[in-house]
Symmetry: none
Subunit: 197 residues, 4 copies
DNA sequence: ACTTAAACGAGACGGTACGTCCCGTCTTTGC
DNA sequence: GCAAAGACGGGACGTACCGTCTCGTTTAAGT
């Protein structure tokens, strides 16, 4: 069995992983996505460029890893109603999206959709995860007998999270109004799924 | 008004405008946004680079002009109901968004949000225009007495178009199901705005 | 015939050729061969790196062109005797070799012999030229009736110029003694070629 | 005296010394001086890079050791005449120089003259040694009464060995003709030093 | 036998330079 | 008198090597 023989050679220094991620995030915040250079990240992190390219095949992979590393989406605690669960999901997503400036998110999305490999990883991780979260709360609602018909998860996905993305990424809307938007969209979707007939 | 002073010298050859736009669209389709170079566009169009930069200040402006040049959004004809008007808006937007591959749209959005000037023009053109269209149909509905309360245009904007964008740009969902999505979102938003109590 | 079609496009700026050559020579003198970088040359010349790589395929070609550009070896004026002619050749070569520091000459020779293309050009230019010069003065001597036997040009070449190279490049000997060395080697070789029996 | 305190710890493995030297020579022959990398040597020798740098301070020292390690120049046995002694010296030097390809010798010379420390060691070892050999045979000739005047060792050095170096390193001349060249230069120099008046 | 200390293969590290590519501008020459 | 062809300054990219530095393992010498 071709085990990776982990004992051989000097192991990767995990402090360097953190230094790279940290420098990347700082520089994204300071200069924006378009002006981020690998040399600047290496310099800021006190690291050689080789250490970066040993970990990531391209600049985009580095940014991807540095920005979305710990987005661990979990289904929200059961709030007792579909509306409440959906609102919780919206608020979580909104909070994550507002953590980074919009140019970073757009840059990232552009790179993700420019590179097939990155795109597959993005879908397989984030989209799948969101879908799972939505499926979970829909199953809860079904167990409660709230649903009038078996819903289409993908459509619910778009109906629920689309407005949040649009508000933050396209309209560059006021973040202060996101809670209202979240509640509104959650209510609307919940109403549609539980319509008396 | 800074009119291009068209009387002096040789007038611009409008065939060149078309050649540039055509070459840009072809190369975007063939290689994708990230691999598009101005040299390649000039070469494909049989045109000098100077001819391009005489028309556009940056590569992004060129792509912008070549891809979204004729997005003339007009309020849809009065369908007689808010729900019908909203569905018409959704279908128009969906049709426009599906005209270009998603990597082009993401690339453009990234560049738009990386450059303040471009961003302002984008908002001032497309967002404002969409807002105006939505305002128009909401005013119609108000005139009909359909609305229960004065709606918040920006929120309606996000609620209505967000899911369409999300489906096309993030989920990379099946275009065949867009008509259903359009009708669903239009119904949902119309219901929310015309709720009986 | 694949002629370079010089009419099309902006022509190369010959001032840039000079700026590159000048910067190269200055930096070689200041820092030495091993520490010469293309970026430094470009910076010093006030030129982009692309302008350099448009002219030369590699750093070595650039240095080659910058350092040996105008070494136009001509047969010396007829001094009336073989000994005098040979001494003149030696002095010319010695003057050329002492124009550059020895580390540059060694670096250049190393690069020349590391790259077949450069090596061929070096031989085809300098070695051939030296051989021609020697052939010329030997023909003069033969015309004068000085020679006792038809000499082997290649060997005369080595016997005459070898000591000069060795003194300058290997021994790093005092340049002040080169005139004496030149006269000595010229006498020796002339004596060998004109031996009374 | 900073002796390596050989008692403690694991002793150096002399097989590794040989493996390094062997791999270095093989790779020099296969790829040439310019393309030799320490990693490649380590890999070929089945050795870690640290084992190399434990033995040699730089790549150049490693190559130096691998290529000229056993150049033990001794004064030749007394042949009975200055001419014979000088010819013997030339032949020995020629044999040593032809052992390595010319690009290796040029690379080494370039590195030697690029680094003061290495340069000093080279002079202090090889040049001094050659000078001693020449001094020895000149002293023999003086004892025999062959010399007409006290010779200048440095100049004799250049006159004698310069042509051999030039033939091998610059002209890349036929090795088959080196014996003739050796005898010719030895005769010439001997004649010059023993000229009847 | 057991400890100790250095050498070992492997490979990650900081740093530096390379040669390539593209942008947006500038400059000839030809149509 | 404009436009194609293409050279220009600038600057980032990803690669390659150098000489150094851990890792965990192996090998002798000294206890």
């Amino acid at each position: 069995m071709p085990e990776p023989k982990q004992g051989a050679g000097r192991p990767r220094d995990s402090q360097i992983d953190h230094a790279i991620a940290r420098a990347t995030r700082e520089l994204l915040a300071e200069r924006g996505y378009a002006k981020l250079t690998v040399d600047a990240v290496a310099s800021r992190a006190g690291v050689g460029k080789a250490a970066i390219y040993r970990r990531f095949a391209t600049k985009q992979e580095m940014i991807f890893a540095a920005t979305v590393h710990d987005m661990e989406e979990q289904p929200p605690p059961d709030s007792g109603s579909l509306r409440g669960d959906l609102a919780a999901i919206c608020e979580t997503i909104a909070a994550q999206l507002t953590a980074a400036p919009p140019d970073v998110l757009h840059g990232l999305l552009a790179d993700i959709h420019a590179d097939a490999a990155l795109g597959a990883r993005f879908s397989g991780t984030f989209i799948e995860r969101e879908r799972f979260v939505i499926d979970t709360v829909l199953a809860r609602a079904d167990a409660r007998g709230e649903l009038t018909a078996p819903p289409d998860t993908a459509m619910v996905h778009a109906l629920l999270l689309g407005p949040i993305f649009y508000w933050i990424l396209i309209l560059i809307g006021d973040h202060g109004r996101l809670p209202v938007l979240s509640r509104t969209v959650a209510s609307m979707v919940a109403d549609a799924l539980t319509a008396s007939e």
